[in-house]
């Protein structure tokens, strides 16, 4: 029994960690630029595929380091070419744009890497279980959670202690004033978008090691990320963090009792939150309304 509980708690943390990483990137972009990045799942896939292509030359660790950066770079290109033009327009345009972008990126992935699933090699050290008793916890899972924790702490530290981070946080609340204070808002938004894509790319590399690569791999993580943001509260990164962990844990715990409903419970939480506290658990009234 203890084994089952321990297992499910760790499993919940792992699932939640993934949702958190994805949702944080999405949330960053949403908060500052008011853009729902439908292509976020595709940036995740891109990160995974780039790691797959780079790992023969750079090794696993090199790929882990470089591919999120490359993903961020591609994000910069996308932002400057396309997304930048629709910032101050009706939100319908940003949704359509990222939606179309998602189509193009998914097709490109299928075209470049093929429709078949591809395996992502892991270093042998990581693929082992921790102990014989705890056979279900491989070092890779611990590694994933560690990386996510490092990334999340890094993100929050960055936002709290660096100047750019401060500007991003300020911009989330009142972009006009930030601009009038002499900050180059265009660069800020580009940078913010890049950070969001970096997080997505990192999620992709981690996910690839767990579930392999395929052109649709980001799709299943996109909706839970949305829900994590809504549940946690729009406009609040801590809320997103909390939301992601909550739904991850809920999904994992449900798998113990009724596996077929593990996805349903995420939607149930969404509906409950919308009914009882529409602004989200940690959301602030007035954000993005």
């Amino acid at each position: 029994m203890a084994q089952v509980i321990l297992f499910n708690v760790t499993n919940g943390l792992i699932i939640g960690a993934f949702y958190v990483l994805m949702a944080l990137g999405l949330s960053l972009i949403l908060n500052l630029s008011n853009v729902i990045n439908f292509a976020h799942g595709n940036f995740l896939a891109l990160g995974g595929y780039l790691a797959f292509t780079l790992s023969p030359t750079l090794g696993y660790w090199g790929a882990l380091l470089i591919s999120p950066l490359l993903t961020a770079l591609i994000g910069v290109v996308v932002e400057r070419l396309m997304i930048r033009r629709i910032y101050n327009r009706d939100p319908v345009y940003s949704l359509l744009l990222t939606f179309g972008l998602a189509f193009v990126m998914q097709d490109a992935a299928r075209y470049i890497w093929g429709p078949n699933g591809l395996p992502m090699g892991l270093p042998d050290a990581l693929a082992q279980p921790v102990t014989v008793d705890l056979f279900f916890i491989t070092w890779y899972r611990i590694f994933m959670v560690t990386i996510v924790i490092v990334a999340v702490i890094g993100l929050f530290a960055f936002l709290r202690y660096t100047r750019i981070g401060l500007r991003i946080r300020a911009g989330t609340l009142d972009l006009e004033t930030v601009a009038s204070l002499g900050v180059n808002v265009r660069h800020l938004r580009t940078f913010n978008f890049a950070v969001g894509c970096l997080l997505a790319g990192l999620s992709g590399v981690l996910a690839a090691g767990q579930i392999g690569l395929n052109p649709n791999m980001g799709d299943d993580l996109l909706m839970p990320s949305f829900i994590a943001i809504i549940v946690g509260g729009v406009g609040s990164l801590i809320g997103t963090l909390f939301g992601g962990l909550l739904i991850g844990m809920a999904a994992a715990l449900t798998t113990v009792f009724y596996p077929a409903a593990s996805e349903a419970v995420i939607y149930a939480i969404l509906m409950i939150v919308l009914l009882i506290r529409p602004r989200g658990l940690l959301g602030e009234e007035g954000m993005l309304s």
Binding site: N11, P129, P259
Partner: protein, 416 residues
């Protein structure tokens, strides 16, 4: 003022592109008519985009290979064959629409498709209404040649009953009768598990299992439960990428030391997508390329590799067989009309260069299901080449595994 001029430029651009598009649409039918003899048109609808795209593409490859072969030998009824392929995008509305398009606009004589059984079924409603002959190369759900069987629908791939019944005796013989199922929670999964349970209990076996969401990525909870149950065999009924992930996690947890692994289908495309440690277990193949004792197969594989640079999988074979079935049926019926083709193919036996395996391979009259052999064997990392990932241990005749026509629940209603 500048806004108006910009808008005028936009309008011109729009008008030009609409004109271009319209000219394409208008030009197309006229062009075909100018080509002398009308070709025999066969329409294939398959999910070329979406999660099933790898399998769908293989079927298309097989069909195209057959198209080239048939045309080289004079075509069907003296006319060249033209294969028109449409993407159903894994969406029923699109699949039905494309089927209507192929029949109404392109005037195809035969329809092939779809890998997605739901779409295949919806298409069959359209084809039977319009009296067009329809072959389902690779859509597995049982009702297509069972409770929902139709006079104009024939199927190449196996039913879940056939696959389950074929592999069960082998698994029981080698490993034991206590099984644990991991099954996706949708129609195909349920029918597959039911078929397994029926075959297993007939041999006196016991079982437990879990139903998981179709897109489940994390199997840890279920695998722990399986380990606690201590079965002889773990049955992995998941499909596509979820099957691969389940295999990976199974071997990551070192569970192959405690129990055997098996299931119904583990297709070549999927095996190749696995890391070596997950290329394991006992499965069915609906057709396998490595049959050194059958000269037709050796020749076919050599030709196919030369033409397409890849080794044919069961899916390629499905597409290939479907096209040749049309040719053979048309030759026998001397016609391409739906009812006549269907009548000609009742109990029709495929010649060895199409069947590509030993034994009698025929379309059973009662339900229009093809009865090939089922290749039961073991998956393993590549031995002599990248595609040598499966070794056949037994050949189970399809008819033996299928049960009777009455069992399938098919009552064929002939066209009026």
């Amino acid at each position: 003022m500048s806004q108006v001029t910009l808008s005028v430029r936009r309008r011109t651009f729009l008008k030009a592109s609409l004109a271009l598009g319209a000219s394409q649409a208008v030009g197309a039918p006229f062009v075909i008519r100018a080509l002398g003899d009308e070709p025999v048109k066969i329409g294939m609808v398959n999910p070329l985009t979406g999660v099933l795209s790898a399998l769908a593409q293989s079927e298309v490859d097989g069909a195209k290979h057959a198209e080239a072969e048939i045309n080289k030998k004079g075509g069907i009824l003296g006319r060249q064959v033209q294969l028109l392929v449409e993407d159903s995008a894994n969406d029923v509305g699109t699949g039905v629409q494309k089927t209507s398009k192929l029949i109404d606009r392109d005037k195809v004589d035969v329809i092939l498709g779809d890998v997605n059984s739901g779409i295949a079924y919806a298409m069959s409603q359209v084809t039977s209404e319009k009296k067009v002959f329809h072959i389902v190369p690779g859509g597995h759900t049982d009702p297509i040649t069972g409770t929902n069987c139709k006079w104009n629908v024939f199927r190449v791939c196996n039913t879940t009953t056939m696959d389950a019944s074929a592999v069960t005796p082998e698994l029981v013989k080698r490993f034991g009768k206590k099984w644990f199922f991991i099954t996706p929670d949708y129609a195909y999964g349920h029918t597959l598990q039911d078929a397994f349970i029926k075959a297993l209990t007939k041999l006196g076996g016991t079982y437990d299992g879990d139903f998981l969401p179709i897109n489940n990525t994390d199997f840890s909870a279920t695998l722990i439960k399986a380990r606690a149950y201590k079965p002889n065999v773990l049955l992995n009924n998941m499909g596509g990428l979820t099957q691969i992930n389940c295999m990976k996690q199974f071997t990551q947890f070192g569970m192959q030391k405690q129990m055997a692994l098996g299931g119904a289908l583990f297709e070549l495309e999927s095996i190749k997508g696995c890391p070596p440690e997950a290329q394991t277990g006992w499965w069915d193949m609906e057709w396998w390329w490595n049959q050194p004792n059958v000269p037709e197969v050796v020749k076919f594989v050599a030709d196919y590799r030369a033409a397409t640079k890849k080794t044919p999988s069961a899916r390629d074979w499905f597409g290939y067989v479907s096209m040749h079935t049309v040719r053979l049926g048309a030759e026998k019926a001397k016609s391409l009309e739906g009812p006549k083709l269907a009548a000609a193919l009742q109990d029709f036996e495929l010649p060895p260069d199409v069947a590509l395996q030993p034994g009698k391979v025929r379309y059973r009259a009662g339900d229009h299901e093809l009865m090939p052999n089922i290749f039961v064997g073991e998956a393993h990392p590549p031995k002599s080449g990248a595609d040598d990932v499966f070794t056949v241990a037994a050949l189970v005749p399809g008819e033996e595994a299928a049960g009777s026509v009455a069992d399938t629940g098919c009552t064929m209603v002939q066209p009026t």
